[in-house]
Structures are given as C-alpha cells and as structure tokens.
Symmetry: C2
Subunit: 133 residues, 2 copies
DNA sequence: CACATAACTTGCTGTTTGCAAGTAATTAGG
DNA sequence: CCTAATTACTTGCAAACAGCAAGTTATGTG
C-alpha cells in the first residue's frame, strides 16, 4: 500500500503563496473548483463530463485532496442514493478571487479564448453575487 | 534527446482558467514569479536560494517554460557576464493579482503562516505600486 | 594560466499521470 | 425478487515527471 498523496508534500516555509500552491498547485484541482463555481457541477459524473477530460483516478484523487483540505464536502444525495454531492465549503468559496484572477489573465493572453468580455463580466458578477458571504 | 515539456500539454477547450493553469498550474512556476515580485530575485542563484529548495533541473525547466510563455525574459548581465538576469515581462507583471489572491487565501488558512496582516498590506501595496502600468 | 563563480545538463531512482479495465453500491424495470 | 443499468469509484500498467547528486560549460579573477 502506498500513500498516493499527490496533493504535495508541505514545504512549510510559512509563505502563504507556497501554502496555497501546496494545496492547489496542480493542473486539476482548480479546474474542479471552477466547475463547481461556474458550471454548477456537483457529482462525480458532472466533473467527468467537465470538458477537459480528467482521468477518473485523478478525479478521485483530487476530490479526496480537496476534501481533506476542507475545500469541498461530500454528502450522499438523499433523493438518489447512488449519487454523492460535492459542495464547496466557506474555505472553498473563498477561492473565487483566485479563479477570477486566473480567468482574467487567461482571457487576456489566450489567443484562442472563447471568453468574451461580456462572458467575463457575467461570470465575475455571478461569482461575486453567489459566493460572497 | 527527449522533449521534457513539463509545462503541460494544452487542452485547448477555450476556457481561460484552463489556459492559465496550462502555463502556471504546477508547484513551482508561481513561486518563481513570487520571488521575482516580492523577493527581488532575478538570477538563477537567487531562485536556488529562494527558500523552498527547488531542484536545479526543475528550476531550469520552469525558467524555460516561463520564458517560452513570454512571462519572463532572459538577458545577460553586462556588468558580470557570468550572470543572466531574468525579468518579468508585462505579461508576467500582470500575474500580480493571481499571486496576491493566492497569498491572501493562504494567509487566511495556513495555521502556521508567517504572514501577518501588516506584511500582507505592505506586500499588496508594494506590488500594486510597482507593477501596475 | 589556474582557480572560482554562475548557470546549467545528465543520469538515476522513485513517484505521479493517464489510459483501460474492473469492482461495489444503489436503483429501476419486468 | 431477479436482472440490468447507473454512479462512483479502484486497480494495473506504461510513460512522463520530480528530486537528488554529480558533472559540464562559460566567464571572470589573481
């Protein structure tokens, strides 16, 4: 049995940027958060169909990492007990500024972006509305 | 000869968040940017002594990735021609909001953070001053 | 010219990723 | 209630990547 803690071994230098990257510094974790924030995704199947084609074992691993980090919570769907619902905690909702800053930078510098200024505005407004408590 | 393009294979879904993460979604690239923004690092040796203990081959690889992405530029130091200076481009300076949002989230949720509110304020002010053009 | 400095490169080993296939729990249909 | 479908994973394996140590190249110093 191996540990499979791909969420990163803590470097603990006390730097807050490094701390964040220890949790979020990979190619998938923040895309999962994005799907929850923008796409309304909440089940394993939602994330699998999220567009970017994440592998199923990686998804399971990242969901575990995000859960362990206190960013998402896992609950059984009581109306369909085959499903589990993943929801953002307060700590997870506070990732909105990170996702938005990544979105804005990407929109500016991706030559093939599909994100028009209107879409950016709409998404920003939506996230500011729904996730600021 | 292998390619060693660890900067990530583009998924090109048109999502700006995914685009940003293709370039920046690893455990080191943004720490290098952080060292340039906050720590005034500019040479290979500066980054090696940056605190987190990056491996030399990884550093070389990430500097190449950041250069290829147009985020940093490499120039020979004319006063000491053994050195190369890495500097942020405009595109790189515009990563400030991303680094700041990671910093703020990390400062809030790292139980062992060394970042006091005063430090956060000072760094934020500094970056807003120096890198907003 | 010998030695030091700065910036890498190479080789090796262990870990992580990504793909394909398989399993477990729950529910819907006959 | 038995069977099939749905949902959420787990496992196995080859290839890519990370991290460590050692070696190399280019430049500067005495």
């Amino acid at each position: 049995m191996k540990k499979d803690m791909s969420a990163a071994s803590p470097r603990k230098t006390g730097c807050p940027v490094a701390f964040s990257l220890d949790v979020l510094g990979d190619r998938w974790s923040l895309l999962i958060v994005r799907d929850m924030l923008v796409g309304g995704a909440s089940t394993y199947g939602d994330f699998m169909c999220g567009g970017e084609g994440i592998a199923t074992n990686i998804l399971a691993n990242r969901l575990k990492g995000l859960t362990d980090a206190g960013i998402v919570e896992k609950h059984r769907d009581e109306t369909n007990r085959r499903k589990y619902r993943y929801t953002l905690t307060q700590k997870g909702c506070e990732l909105v500024p990170i996702v938005l800053s990544l979105m804005n930078w990407g929109a500016k510098y991706d030559p093939e972006t599909r994100a028009t200024p209107e879409i950016l505005k709409k998404v920003t407004a939506k996230l500011d509305m729904e996730f600021s408590k």
